[in-house]
């Protein structure tokens, strides 16, 4: 397999983009990545999008967006594995370049979520859970993660304040990210007194509904060297699945798909969790970040809350998690999130992250998760 590098990244300000359509957001972002890379064409493209059909009533967006980007007739593929769609788009592009099938591939993600009301958005997101065994009984995503939070608190003594500390840390990081949807700080008290969503989770434990896109250009390392760009290699890729319904898992606090995808990616890269300098993980709810930290081996089982509380996951901590602000502060346009994580890790490894830069970061990891953890995609990156 050929060595693959990320040579261009693109992301615009995320938020409630009332004046832009899905295609506007996408094209703007993809062009940024193409410009950043300096390539004069692409051979193929992948688009992660969870539910453009429900959110904007448009399927067949692979062709639509290739056309609007001015790239038709290049092959274009839409990828869907719920909120991990973006991460999977990268993995497929990585395989295509690595195998030699294509040289320059645009990997991207997009979601336009605010064209529907809150109820419909909740329904669309709910389709990432098990319709027959979960959703038909009335549960929504905050409810599923609330169950996981209660289980984690019960099993390990994780506290309500420790959950809040995840949001506080991510908002602090996000306040230094000009592209974040909510670039402001919050306090533990703000979180604990915010509107209740699904006990024990409150609104400031939850990632928001966001419009946004993110894009990256990947190519073989030999080609990257000719482009005179800082080279960030993709050295590991892992992808795994789990029971979609949390009732079918042995332990509600354990994300088996994240563990398995992480293990594959670490092995491929020849790295251990301790070798990684910076992590971008899927904090769709504060409890998710804690469970992910444990499944990726950043801390022992049950020790994540304490690690966050002690500041270990802050930008200046020993295991920096979500310097971008995470899904919590940066926003969560579901299909785009996995690629936005790549954008942040590439910025970190290029040392272009400004005030939220993890000093001397050379190895980075992205973890992008679908639903309540039934799919996970993990990638390991290295600055040459």
């Amino acid at each position: 397999m050929r060595e693959v590098a990320v040579v261009g990244i693109g992301m615009t300000k995320w938020g409630e983009l009332w004046n832009k359509s899905l295609r506007d957001i996408y094209v703007e972002t993809a062009l940024m990545a193409i410009d950043d890379s300096g390539v004069d064409h692409i051979d193929s493209m992948y688009i992660g999008s969870m539910s453009s059909g429900i959110f904007v009533g448009q399927e067949h967006i692979a062709s639509l967006l290739a056309d609007y980007l001015g790239c038709a007739p290049v092959p274009s593929t839409r990828v869907e594995t719920a909120c991990a769609s973006g991460g999977l788009a990268l993995r497929l592009g990585f395989m295509e370049v690595g195998s030699g099938m294509s040289d320059i591939v645009l990997v991207s993600g997009v979601e336009k979520m605010t064209d529907v009301g809150g109820d419909e958005a909740t329904y669309a997101l709910g389709t990432a859970a098990d319709q027959e065994y979960e959703c038909y009984h009335g549960i929504t995503f905050p409810g599923l993660y609330a169950l996981m939070a209660v289980a984690h608190m019960d099993k390990y003594g994780t506290t309500r304040k420790q959950l809040a500390e995840v949001a506080v840390k991510n908002h602090k990081n996000g306040s230094k990210n000009p592209l974040a949807q909510f670039p402001f700080e919050v306090t533990v008290d703000d979180v604990l007194n915010s509107v209740k969503v699904a006990d024990p989770l409150r609104i400031l434990d939850c990632s928001p509904i966001t419009d946004g896109a993110a894009a990256a250009i990947i190519c073989p390392v030999e080609l990257a060297k000719k482009l005179n760009k800082p080279i960030v290699k993709i050295t590991g890729s892992g992808h795994a699945t789990d029971a979609i319904a949390i009732s079918q898992r042995k332990d509600m606090t354990w994300l088996e798909s994240t563990y398995k995808a992480g293990k594959s990616a670490y092995e491929m890269a020849g790295k251990n969790p301790g070798d990684i300098d910076v992590f971008e993980v899927h904090d769709c709810f504060t409890i998710a970040e804690l469970c992910v930290m444990e499944a990726l081996g950043l801390v022992d089982k049950g020790k994540s809350g304490e690690a966050v509380e002690r500041g270990r996951t802050a930008v200046e901590g020993d295991i920096p998690v979500n310097p971008s602000g995470g899904l919590k502060s940066k926003g969560h346009p579901v299909g785009a999130t996995g690629i936005a994580q790549v954008v942040e890790i590439v910025k970190q490894l290029r040392e272009e992250s400004g005030e939220r830069q993890v000093k001397g970061a050379r190895f980075g990891l992205t973890q992008n998760m679908g639903g309540s953890g039934a799919s996970t995609v993990v990638h390991v990156f290295e600055r040459e």
Binding site: E16, W18, G117, G118, V195, K196
Partner: protein, 348 residues
């Protein structure tokens, strides 16, 4: 100079608390109270509607104006809850006031902005010299679907303003209108409850138009936020007017006198006009007031007023708005409220 010669307010005595509604729907009352800055809302009795409340408010306006109702040349009622789809509210009001038959009437509808539309037209007919006095009323018995966020705010009330050239208590120095096609809230024919676009009702709808109108009118007369003693914005919930004020540079002190929504709810077409009546109740001669309404669909009307010394002569000729709001309240349980609002009906 043309302006308001008399004003009046009316609010039904029934109230329902946020807790009482939240209890029924299993909602978290503290979250609603904090999120929307609402405590309770007014509820009309079964025999009250937009017309009866318009009559009450207009009678108070007539008392303060001290004019002959036959001198009123125009009667305009703005509401999104006119009791009849076909048959005017304005004719009943004009008849009840003794202003018929030589009077022009019309019913206005523009979501929560209909009240200031009637005021705008009545004022400008006076300015044009076509009528001596004109009456503009904003009144609503607004409905929120059971369990919807709107149910915590949709309230009832009316405010009436008589415009003329003499006996003016507040001169209207300037008017301004700002609107676009923005579908944030609607109710189709034959539908009982309105629908809304959730968070779309905020930034691209309310805030865009309210701040657009406020900036537009202030630019027109070269005034700044600090030049006003008071400002009244449309009050769909407690938070929005303060946020709009913050964007525009107004202080809490300028907003609070006309901010009734925490105890009143959103009276739709009556909302910002009632805020103006409460502000006139405490204003002093020479004070400058900015009024900015908002109606979904969407648009804002803005008025700049300057209070005259006559305010002190007429203020106590009719009930003060905060007295109506705070006195003689009767709290309803949800069942009684549901009956009053015809959310449940007795079998025929």
């Amino acid at each position: 100079m043309e302006g308001i010669v008399g004003y009046g307010a009316y609010i039904p005595r029934n109230r329902i608390k946020v807790e009482e509604i939240a209890k029924v729907w299993g909602a978290d009352a503290p979250s609603y109270k904090k999120g929307l800055m609402l405590e309770e809302k007014s509820v009309p009795s079964p025999d009250q509607d937009t017309i009866t409340m318009s009559v009450e408010a207009s009678k108070s306006a007539l008392k303060r104006a001290g004019i002959d109702p036959l001198d009123i040349g125009a009667v305009y009622v703005g509401s999104e809850s006119h009791p009849y789809a076909v048959k005017p509210s304005g004719t009943v009001l004009a008849e009840a006031l003794g202003a018929t038959p030589e009077v022009h009437t019309a019913d206005f509808e523009f979501a929560c902005k209909a009240g200031t539309e009637g005021m705008f037209v009545a004022l400008n007919l006076v300015k044009a010299g076509i009528i001596t006095y004109g009456l503009g009323v904003g009144a609503d018995t607004s409905q929120g679907a059971p369990g919807d966020a709107l149910e915590y705010s949709a309230a009832a009330g009316a405010a009436a303003f008589i415009f003329g050239k003499d006996k003016v208590v507040a001169e209207v120095l300037e008017t301004y209108a700002y609107m676009t096609d923005t579908p944030d809230f609607w109710r189709r024919e034959y539908e009982y409850y309105p629908q809304h676009g959730g968070r779309f009702t905020g930034e691209p709808a309310y805030f865009k138009h309210v701040t657009g109108a406020a900036k537009g009118i202030m630019n027109k007369v070269d005034m700044q936020a600090g030049d006003f003693n008071y400002v009244i914005f449309h009050q769909p919930n407690g938070k929005f007017p303060f946020k709009a004020g913050k964007i525009l540079g107004f202080s809490r002190e300028q907003i609070e006198p006309g901010w009734l929504v925490n105890k009143l709810g959103n009276t739709y077409s009556g909302s910002s006009p009632l805020g103006l009546t409460a502000t006139l109740d405490i204003a002093k001669p020479g004070d400058h007031i900015l009024l900015v309404s908002y109606g979904s669909g969407a648009g804002s009307d803005a008025f700049i007023l300057k209070v005259t010394p006559r305010i002190d002569e007429v203020r106590d000729l009719a009930p003060l708005t905060r007295e109506i709001l705070n006195n003689n309240k009767k709290y309803l349980e949800y069942g009684e409220y549901a009956k009053f609002r015809e959310k449940i009906r007795k079998a025929e």
